[in-house]
Symmetry: C2
Subunit: 718 residues, 2 copies
């Protein structure tokens, strides 16, 4: 393994450092949501549908309610939901079950065991309906409807940067019963360009449903507050989104809903908002605190995994390998609830990091009797990469042009129009591709043993952005506290502390990061979309700059020296050239928190980056395929990532390793499969083939390239 590091600064930027919260996690001291005690807690256990599609005839709760310690058995009618739409507004099935595992009742018990006993005592009478499970079968005109009744749908597509120019609804009369939406994304005269190409390749690619594989299953606790409000402690990546959803569902004022994130046990996009409506409904209905913690099996059966996509694509090029057109259709399996399905994203992302002059892509969002779809590490980007990169390799072979050369010839020029109509920002296309192509493995690709092969691929996530606020306060001892209403994930607390330290001019040990709840912390975006360091980090840099200026102003008054002639070194403010006249930050901290004449030092930043920060990744692998069994073994894995400046190389490396492992799973092993009746056949970690350490151990090269300037260096300019 080789890791290339940027120049490291004294503050810690560029230095690999352990995550601040790691000790509490590895020693078992960290309290996750399910660990936090709550007096008067009721435990909720779900009665889940065994049918993928059925009508609920009746629910008999009497036997369950007779069990001592069973507080209530809630069904849809009991939930105090007043507004909202989509899956959130239907945390228990109304009268129609639309996937196997869907909760139809919630038993509240004084203990989890009692509630579980209660689940056994709830008798649900179902009338099975025809289910539709296969994506392609679902769009046949003869297909049974995956949902008979009405459903109000909505989409989260905005986070992932969907939309833009060149997008139009396809209107060819009534849509097939399970087609929720069709859209055409086009630019230029793609069909004509394809017809005039020197070479054209076609292919069909399907990626199955994938579970995000987080360690901590979905869990949340909710409790009514004495003032009529509602508080939640949840394993969520998005406290403000949860607040907004809960506010809307129960028609509560936003500021009477308080959402706090627990110590986070993994999500990868799956924990934006899923379980909270059910838990909040129950707490309001019962008037007591309620927790629902999914078991592992429930999490497999009833969460929001990454949906299946099927691509039918044609890629054309001229004799030099310059792309002429990309055309085709993408089927997106939205499952039973299209709320969070990335249907609209697929149409603009399919091109990955390449520039196309013409394209014509139809997206078809399809309803099936599977769970609702969720996000997973750059929704649709990974699947698109599989499809397009396979075609690029075929095209290269057909043209007899080196596949790296073909890729380089289609790198976008900065400013040229992307498929979504936005101009291409500078991206690390060449840097990442070159990094893997210059690896000795690529040069030696022809010399591999029989049954082995070497391949490379390039992918891109276009990035996301959301406004973020942060404050940076000086404590009475001269330390800094950074606060924002975000969720610590993937070591972001550590990164945030480093950014604040760098900008302020101290060591990151003097910075504490508080990820506050929605009641009092600055508004921040979702911890997801690859945007925490980019968006929140920028706001933190602004806040730390502000705090630094305030501190220098105080020091200037105390020392009677112009601010411009002061510097912060070794936790002191020193006059340039006269370090012995320094005043310590601790002394300033005491002054600004005392009885005047200084106001508290409160640095503030609230910003939104003007553009997205796309990230390109390249992978180079050597594999051995057993021609008899099809077993594929990864022998070498080289990854290159365009990450901007690596603020904490250890965390970048961790992300790259994690991403590589997950790509191995998606490419070779994972499939959250249902049988034809819609029954999950891979619903435990025994049957669901998450790659193990052995299957990911081949990572022998990691590198990153600087494709962008450092966002936190120009904080004021945003």
């Amino acid at each position: 393994m080789s890791v290339v590091t940027d120049g490291a600064s004294a503050s810690g930027v560029g230095v690999a450092r352990p995550r601040i919260e790691a000790p509490s996690k590895v020693t078992g001291h960290a309290r996750y949501v399910a660990d936090v005690p709550m007096p008067g807690l009721l435990h909720g256990r779900m009665v889940m549908s065994p049918f993928a599609h059925a009508r609920i005839i009746s629910i008999d709760r009497s036997e369950a309610l007779a069990i001592p310690g069973v507080h209530a058995v809630l069904i849809w009618e009991d939930l105090p939901i007043k507004g909202g739409a989509g899956r959130a507004a239907e945390p228990l099935a109304r009268d129609e079950v639309v996937f196997a595992g869907q909760p139809v009742a919630l038993v509240l018990g004084e203990t989890e065991a009692i509630a579980e006993d209660g689940v056994e005592g709830v008798l649900v009478d179902y009338e099975p309906l025809d289910e539709v499970v296969d994506l392609r079968a679902a769009i046949e005109t003869s297909a049974p409807p995956a949902r008979v009744g009405d459903s109000e749908d909505e989409s989260d597509a905005e986070m992932h940067g969907a939309g833009g120019e060149g997008q139009s609804a396809v209107d060819e009369g009534a849509l097939p019963v399970n087609v929720i939406d069709r859209k055409l994304f086009s630019g230029g005269e793609a069909e004509r360009a394809l017809a005039g190409s020197d070479a054209v390749v076609h292919g069909r690619f399907r990626v199955p449903w994938i579970h995000q594989g987080y360690l901590e299953p979905q869990v949340a606790t909710a409790w009514p507050e004495p003032d009529g409000g509602l508080s939640l402690l949840s394993s969520t990546q998005a406290v403000f989104w949860v607040r907004q959803e809960i506010s809307r569902l129960f028609e509560l004022p936003l500021n009477s809903v308080r959402v706090r994130a627990g110590t986070f046990g993994g999500g990868f996009g799956a924990k934006l908002r899923l379980i909270e409506p059910l838990v909040a409904s129950a707490a309001l209905a019962a008037g007591r605190p309620v927790r629902v913690a999914f078991t592992r099996s429930e999490d497999f059966a009833a969460a929001n995994p990454c949906p299946s996509l099927e691509f039918d694509l044609a890629l054309g090029a001229d004799a030099d390998g310059r792309f002429t057109a990309l055309t085709g259709r993408i089927l997106i399996d939205c499952g039973a609830f299209p709320d969070s399905a990335p249907a609209a994203l697929a149409g603009t992302r399919v091109g990955g990091p390449y520039h196309f002059d013409t394209w014509s892509i139809e997206t078809v969002a399809v309803r099936t009797n599977r769970f609702g779809a969720g996000a997973y590490r750059g929704p649709t980007a990974t699947q698109s990469t599989f499809a397009v990169e396979s075609l690029v390799d075929e095209l290269s072979a057909k043209l007899g042009v080196d596949p790296v050369t073909v890729r380089l010839r289609n790198a976008p020029e900065t400013g040229a129009k992307r498929m979504d109509g936005i101009g291409w920002p500078p991206i690390g296309f060449r840097e990442t591709l070159t990094a893997v192509a210059e690896h000795p493995l690529w040069a030696a690709r022809a010399d591999v043993a029989p049954g082995e092969g070497v391949g490379l691929a390039l992918g891109m996530f276009p990035g996301a952005k959301q406004g973020a606020g942060a404050v940076c306060r000086m404590d009475a001892d001269g330390g800094l506290t950074v606060v924002s209403g975000y969720v610590d994930m993937t070591g972001t607390d550590t990164t945030i502390a480093t950014i604040a330290a760098e900008v302020f001019g101290i060591s990151s040990e003097m910075v504490r990061v508080v990820a506050g709840d929605t009641s009092g912390a600055p508004q921040a975006g979702v911890s997801g979309g690859s945007m925490v360091t980019y968006c929140l980090g920028s706001a933190v840099a602004v806040a730390a700059t502000d705090a630094r200026q305030q501190v220098l102003k105080v020091a200037a008054q105390e020392l009677e020296i112009d601010e411009a002639d002061l510097e912060i070194v070794n936790a002191e403010v020193r006059p340039l050239g006269s370090p012995h006249k320094a005043i310590s930050l601790a002394a300033i901290g005491a002054k600004v928190t005392g009885f005047g004449p200084y106001a508290p030092v409160e640095g503030h930043g609230s910003s939104v980056p003007p553009e997205l920060a796309p990230s390109v990744a390249a992978a180079l692998v050597r594999v051995r395929v057993d021609r008899d069994t099809g077993e594929t073994q990864i022998l070498e894995y080289v990854a290159a990532q365009d990450c901007g400046r690596a603020i904490n190389p250890a965390l970048v490396e961790g992300q790259m390793r994690g991403g590589a492992a997950q790509s191995v799973g998606i490419a070779l092993y994972e499939d959250l499969a249902h049988d034809d009746a819609g029954q999950l056949v891979a619903g435990t970690f025994m049957s669901y083939a998450l790659p193990r350490e052995a299957e990911c151990a081949a990572q022998n090269g990691l590198t990153w390239a600087r494709g962008r300037t450092h966002p936190f260096r120009q904080p004021i300019g945003w």
Copy 2:
């Protein structure tokens, strides 16, 4: 009763409105600190000394520890205190007991009853020492020392604006054994001026120890955090002070101590920091959450009441009643712990609202075997008023000049030097005095029935100031959330909401105030010293102004209209003259919390007022005195208060009524008396004569005068 109101604004400034939190309190839903459940909680009950002064020979814990459910019996040696000084560093007596009721051990039990049983089982062997209880006896050279061993003392005087010019330590060799400190406060040639006066009056005035009489006894809960930090939930007026003290005592980094204030059940200065060191020590020693909740009797016996002061004063004047000099001595009973005793304050406050050309006041801080002293509604101001106003009346009689005239002749000119060397700001001296003097009761004072009398008095609290930070955020629904790390008290949440609403231009119902904990909220000062509305209110006004500007900027972009041409009316931003083109605040809230292009609206204020805001109060009463029994009945009570602009007249009136009631108690009833052996003889509400409603019902006139401009109207100018 008549109340004079200022002009009311649409936002609610000047409008009497109920306290936001009142419903939760009057319906019993509010959770005070002792009500908040805490899993794994240990209850602490104190073993208290029966002697006022004694040496601890031994403590036998075996019997207590044998009781099932008694977790531990802590003595001084068990406490993990590493730093600090004064009473805080000695939450259990070391080897010497210095007041009756002092905790000498803490029993931790699984229930409060078990801990109480444990207290019975702790056998302490004391060697009684001579105690000294009387203030005057304590300064005799023959007096026994109130403390034999060493004690490190410190003072809180800064909050109350002590110090300044003309103050010098008195050094006449060794001080008497119980005199902690002597200081001389002088200006001009006071003795000569007194000798040349046309009239001189002398008097000795003693005010006894007074309990602040809060409803909720002292209580705090502390628990160790998994990361090695410590959290506290406390009934405190000063979360940041508590944090600092705990950090110092246990040598914990400031930011690993988190202090949250509970719903506050009254303090009047008594809850700055008292019980927290004991509770925190126990939690750290036990490694579990610990709560100590004083019983009423314990609170009488072992808290920090308002100390006794004795004044020996001489006041001189010329024939017109113009004061020539104030001279004399003030004894301040600091009890056993002088930490929070207002000794240094008395010297500059004794002159009240009057201007003196010459003065010479000696302050003598005395140690006795009583509890430690604490603050109470403007420390030393009330007692000084009693002394000086009595002398002023005598002087008026001696000179044959109307007492109102004499007072008016000694009103300070703005800018003239006060006794503390600071220039007099504008004060409401004439306005408040005139307000009561113009009341019909004053004109009719000669016509009262036999045994009745009419008197008036004028007092002043010089004010305090402390830097404060606040943020004002726009929520996704367009509402505002104001956050600061302060403690809601006397309706300040309501006032803060009104200030934010006024400045922003919305109704106060759209504002929610969050009093945050020390981990994430902006630094704010103590809720005390008459400075919350003045200091924090100013910061909130700055923050709301900032938020407003940010909102107008967004609206200007959305509407493509210059910011200067926009106004906020009815929860909308409207172009002046084109109200139909408005954009709602809710729409703006959604935009600034979504996916750009706008940053979140985060208004910030951090400020410290440039000068103090003294407040003058005048009282006019008619009393009937039974010449045989001495029983005094208040028949009429007229109060005038200089409060600046009354932001919420209902709260100002509440403060005036409360202050009047407490003055009745101090003047006529209350005395937290000890016998000669230092045993408390008035340690319950049966024996301690807190005035009842009947004794305070005579308030028949309340008014206020505007002595200052509105602090929150010129927020930027500070």
